[in-house]
């Protein structure tokens, strides 16, 4: 471990923020993941295995410290961390070590894990398509380099005095290298083109496949006839550059896929089921049946929808309803999965069938709402729809023109058509979009925003309206002490001595406002009511107004309030607000300045919504919105022709997130919302929303520049090709130059503001 300190000091941490850490904080604040006992699998060989997401893998020293420490632990057979995906695979001998011991050791190192079912998620499978593309890319690269080597000799020979025998020999060498490589590396394109043709449609791969196979066939024919020009190098170059673009695109999707799987893992929750005989058993949430009694400890997330059967408590339902106040629950009350139990242990009887849970309802609503997004056509696809037929027409026209009007024989005419197909082949186009998007996504990742797909960036660049949710999105979703009414100066200090004993959000807010200090002894928490202690012979209560008594009527207040009463003295009121994110006003102002329409939609009560909207300067606001109401507003906006970015965090926002043109969600959001959102950002600041929009617009501008650049090359090259002036040398130069120009331009997305 001697190296560790200097490495950390050197600031290596800065470079290791991969996407996983952006998604993880949700689990940190809402749930610690499922109980590992419910997910460990013991194989036939007696070895127990577990796959888990490690949420806290942020530093270079994490990997060796986890693996090293676990390796020294008696009974652990293997521990392998995948830092890129933020996952760990554990193997141990259950007879010698307990999974809880392993988790505890990880806990000592500061890591918490969220186990998942590898079989269900297909978690540890390699991305076969991505690997296939990489293999094809390697083969194409190898063959391209070697054929180029030979081609340069041929080109030099054409200008000097190479004999026809040597040239024929070199052509045969090229053919022998190129033929197998083209067959192998071209498969992704041939397959896709065949699929499209069978379905009666066309895509960008059709001209590619036709161009490559025609060029190869013609070159082979020319080689047998001892012709002057062959296009093996051009065909391979096409495949090589296109495969780079294809691979970039794929790796973007692969990342998104892994992150989505991690989200699913974090959502997997275990439940402590109480059997009929009173014994408790930990079960994966999928194994909990309606009617099961589930125990929920203080501070835990309620795992199921159901009715409270024992215990009184308060639950934080902000992620489910958007309501910022904790709700009191008593036996008979309905609680939803995803709410957090705040005050005291409760027991919940699981409600009927899975399809009737709130989550399932929300999921169904999301399915219906998400169709608008599915209809979006990516820019590259839109271009190719126009581009492909034009290429075909041009090549055909060149062939027919030279045959009839130009008086060339079929061989020469076909060679000219092949040259047209090759110079128009969308090498630069295929690179233009993914290269920019990979750069933009990478840049946003460093700033704490994780973009799930390239087309999310395209959509984000075109928005004209931003709709915000309130609780947890514009605000931080946790109460902050706003003011104290009445009482002497020591009221806060006294309240804090009680509050330090409690984990209730309001208690935490008081403790935070008071700073460090002592905690009172013998504090008793009355679930749903408040805290009570005896200090200096006097009874002190901190809690609901009707419970502490002696509350003087006070002016109405939009937020939460609790009261403190010492002995028989008049009660003191503590007012709380859900503080807006520190830069919320600034971001809203900037968005409006740039001409975007800003709207606030919240499920919270109207006065609270109005107060915040006034504070942030949002004119259009709507309170007490149900999830269906939010969708209705979004659909109305869509009908007006507006392209809406929805920013929200709650379960109640999830359908709206799915319905919006593009959606963003903070990393503290409900898992479903994070899954529905196109972009997940972390931190207390709202600035990533603005940053995402700006980078998306910049990326959009660069993509358009790149496309223009690529088409500009064609504008010069196509007339040359049709005129029959393009030799393999010119084709190679044009192709490489346009690809390099486009890639170089794409790199600019990483720079500047």
């Amino acid at each position: 471990m001697t190296l560790q300190a200097p490495i950390d000091d050197a600031g290596l941490d800065a470079g290791c923020c991969t996407f996983g850490s952006l998604v993880a904080p949700a689990a940190r604040s809402v749930a610690a993941g499922a109980d590992p006992r419910a997910y460990a699998v013991v194989g036939a060989d007696g070895i127990a295995r577990l796959d888990a997401v490690v949420e806290t893998l942020d530093c270079p020293s994490c990997v060796p410290s986890i693996e090293g420490t676990l390796a020294r632990l008696e009974g652990v057979l293997g521990a392998r961390v995948n830092a890129g995906q933020r996952r760990i695979h554990l193997e141990w001998d259950p007879a010698r070590v307990d999974v809880e011991r392993i988790v505890a050791v990880l806990g000592d190192l500061g890591h918490r894990i969220a186990p998942y079912d590898a079989a269900r998620l297909g978690g540890r499978e390699v991305d076969e398509v991505g690997q296939g593309l990489l293999r094809a890319l390697a083969v194409a690269g190898f063959a391209f380099a070697n054929v180029m080597l030979v081609s340069v000799a041929v080109w030099a020979g054409l200008a000097q005095d190479m004999g026809p025998g040597t040239r024929a020999f070199l052509h045969w060498v090229s053919a022998l290298i190129a033929m197998p490589a083209i067959v192998y590396a071209g498969r992704p394109f041939f397959r896709s083109a065949l699929g499209a043709l069978r379905a009666g449609t066309s895509n960008m791969d059709v001209p590619i496949a036709i161009g490559v196979s025609l060029a190869t066939a013609m070159s082979l024919f020319e080689t047998t006839r001892n012709g002057e020009h062959v296009y093996f190098d051009a065909a391979l170059g096409l495949l090589f550059f296109l495969l780079i673009g294809r691979f970039l695109d794929r790796s973007l999707r692969g990342r998104a896929f892994a992150a989505a799987q991690n989200l699913l893992a974090l959502r997997a929750v275990s439940a402590l089921v109480i059997g009929a005989d009173g014994n408790t058993e930990v079960r994966a949430i999928e194994a909990v049946r309606p009617g099961d009694r589930v125990a929920v400890a203080t501070g835990e997330t309620v795992p199921v929808d159901g009715h409270v059967v024992a215990g009184r408590s308060e639950v934080d339902a902000s992620l489910v309803t958007g309501e910022s106040l904790p709700q009191a629950v008593a036996p008979g009350d309905l609680v939803h999965a995803g709410t957090v139990n705040l005050a005291a242990p409760i027991e919940v009887e699981t409600a009927a069938a899975g399809s009737q849970t709130l989550l399932a309802e929300i999921a169904a609503m999301m399915d219906r709402a998400g169709q608008a997004k599915a209809r979006y056509v990516r820019l590259a696809d839109r271009i190719s729809r126009v581009y492909a037929p034009v290429i075909h027409a041009l090549a055909l026209a060149a062939f027919a023109g030279w045959m009839t009007l130009g008086g060339a024989d079929w061989r020469a005419s076909l060679m000219i058509a092949v040259a047209v197909l090759i110079v128009t082949c969308p090498c630069a186009l295929g690179l233009a979009v993914p290269a920019v998007q990979v750069g933009a996504v990478g840049r946003l990742l460093k700033r704490g925003a994780y973009v799930k797909s390239g087309d999310a960036l395209e959509r984000l660049a075109r928005i004209d309206t931003v709709v915000f949710d309130k609780t947890g999105t514009l605000t931080l979703g946790r109460p902050r002490l706003d003011g104290i009414d009445g009482g002497a100066g020591d009221a806060l200090a006294l309240a804090a001595t009680l509050a330090r004993r409690s984990t209730h959000p309001l208690s935490r807010a008081i403790a935070a406002a008071a700073g460090d200090g002592a905690a009172a002894e013998g504090v008793h928490e009355e679930p749903g009511l408040g805290l009570e202690a005896v200090i200096g012979g006097e009874r002190v209560r901190l809690g609901r107004g009707d419970w502490v008594g002696g509350a003087a009527p006070a002016a109405a207040h939009a937020g939460t309030e609790i009261w403190l009463r010492r002995g028989e003295a008049p009660a003191v009121r503590f007012r709380f607000v859900d503080a807006p994110r520190p830069d919320a006003a600034e971001v809203v102002a900037t968005l409006k300045e740039r001409g975007l329409r800003v709207i606030l939609l919240s499920g919270d009560r109207r006065p609270v919504v109005d107060a915040l909207a006034d504070q942030l300067g949002i004119a259009e606001r709507e309170g007490e919105c149900l999830p269906s109401g939010k969708i209705a507003v979004l659909q109305r906006l869509a009908a007006e022709g507006r392209r809406v970015a929805m920013v929200g965090d709650g379960l109640n926002d999830a359908p709206a997130l799915a319905a919006a043109f593009v959606s963003l969600s903070p990393s503290t959001a409900a898992d479903v919302s994070q899954t529905a959102a196109d972009v997940v950002f972390r931190g207390d600041a709202l600035a990533p929303v603005l940053e995402c929009w700006e980078v998306a617009r910049k990326a959009d501008a660069l993509v358009r520049q790149n496309v223009t650049l690529a088409l500009g090359y064609n504008l010069i090259a196509v007339p040359l090709a049709i005129a029959g002036l393009v030799t393999p040398l010119i084709a190679a130069i044009v192709m490489s130059a346009s690809s390099l120009a486009v890639t170089g331009n794409a790199l600019r997305v990483q720079r500047g503001r």
Partner: protein, 55 residues
């Protein structure tokens, strides 16, 4: 020009060796976790035994 007879095979052999190495690295999953490998290498108590942690 007779030199081509052995120069071209030599070039192909060298390039092919590189290609085979790359495909081998891909097959042995060395491209799966680029970050982790970089981090592990920085620690002197790094233990190679752990590499058989996966099945």
């Amino acid at each position: 020009m007779a030199a081509l007879v052995y120069l071209i095979p030599a070039a192909l052999l060298l390039g092919g060796f590189g290609l085979v190495c790359f495909l081998w690295a891909l097959r042995t999953r060395q491209f799966e976790d680029l970050d982790g490998a970089a981090w592990r290498a920085l620690h002197d108590d790094h233990d190679d035994r752990l590499k058989d942690g996966r099945d």
